[in-house]
Amino acid sequence: MIQGMINSFCNLFKKSATIDFPNEQMKISKNYRGLINHSDSDCIWCDVCEKVCPPGAILFLQNMDGSKKYNYNPYLCIYCGECVRNCPKPNEALWQEENIAFSSSSKKEVQDDWFSLEDECKIARVKYKEHKESLKKSQKVEQPLS
């Protein structure tokens, strides 16, 4: 019991085990798996990252002029790093940083409309395919005429 009292007394002066957040930042180790970043200029738009992503946190929206728009949802991402490992140009087109997404209170930030975007991407892809096919057909029709 006396030992217990001594221990309790000593504990009063020990450094606290918790972090005084937000005054003190959390310790994040090197190579922590955080947010995914993308560079439009380096990407070759192969869509591999979209296909391998387990939760579907990367979406490419097809535009009618052939270009694509990269969309990323950090609140759906499980930070597995699979996309970066499979990207043909890792660390150039796609890389993982050491920061994570912070919690958010606004609907816009947490990408509330992500699932409608998913549908939009699907539709855009089908439309683009049709568009391309019709272009091809019209080219074929044009050829004999000329």
């Binding site: 310790k27 180790s29 922590y32 387990p54 699979e82 490992r85």
Partner: protein, 361 residues
Amino acid sequence: MTKVLNVPLGSQHVALLEPVSFKLTTKNERVVEVTADVGYVHRGIEKACETKFKFKQIPFVVSRVCGLCSITHATTSTLAIEKLLNLEVPKKAKYLRILALELDRIHSHMLCLAHTAENAGYEALFMRILRDREHVMELQEILTGNRVHFDYVCIGGVNRDFDNDLNSTFEKYLKIFENFTTEIKELFLNNWSLSLKYKGVGAISADRALEQSLAGPLIRACGLKIDVRSEFDFLPYSELDFNIITSDGGDVYGRNMVRLDEIFESIRLIRAVINNLPEGDIQTKVKGNPDGEAIVRLEAPRGELFYYIKGSKKPNLDRVRIKTPTFTNIPSMIDMLKNQEYANVPAIIASFDPCLSCTAK
């Protein structure tokens, strides 16, 4: 005069934080009848694995079955898929898998010990164990890049290499682990008030344990040498002189001792892995789609984890069946609660290390 009382315990109830509900019928403080409902957190993961995800994504999906043994789920499913693909995994990857598995075992056992302490009414010990457990989480983060969901194992090997400059970091952390485990063990061994809640409480005989096919530290606490790690050679445990830890008595005290000693054994295994780490690649290339059926068993922190996987040369699997040790242990938990004093019930439940997310998956 005997008074019969029905006491609900659990599922969004203050007395038990896990999403499980027990209905206890008590007669004068003694439990006579128990019913349990474990289906509160069913997420349909098995079905999702068959329909929504390709086989390469399965390890990432199943590791979300449970936050405590996520690496065991990922490794077991990976081993099963590798079996179907006839992949030969580099030796270094196998060793690194053991490293991650054993680190996971340490933190999982510590959480269980903390909960047994808490449910025995020793809140301060709970906090203390969790404080020390934080070091284990840190080391896991250093090794894999995340505290909880490691996503370290992939089909064909592991995702990250073990740099040689990690050696000294590991040694530093392992020393810390050894120190605090020794201190905690001292408390669990000698604290008089803890022994009141542990010794002889929730005891089960070895025969009965076999009959009910208990798993993991629970059956080893009955003195039986049953451990999947020594039965299979999916992972090279035999090269590391793996010992099965047992205790006797089959009570809460015995289970705590098994867990504590297993922490020491895991620390030893981690050292052995680092010292004997082979050179070479950490991944092989994956070709083709899985075809056929495979069964893999692996020792999770809570006991034997079982995976059945069936594929037919398609990217999607035909069937994924997961049998978790916690689910196996539920019937004997119900059995054991009978004839116990009501006050001992939380400690017994905690000593089973129940994990409802993997029971219901």
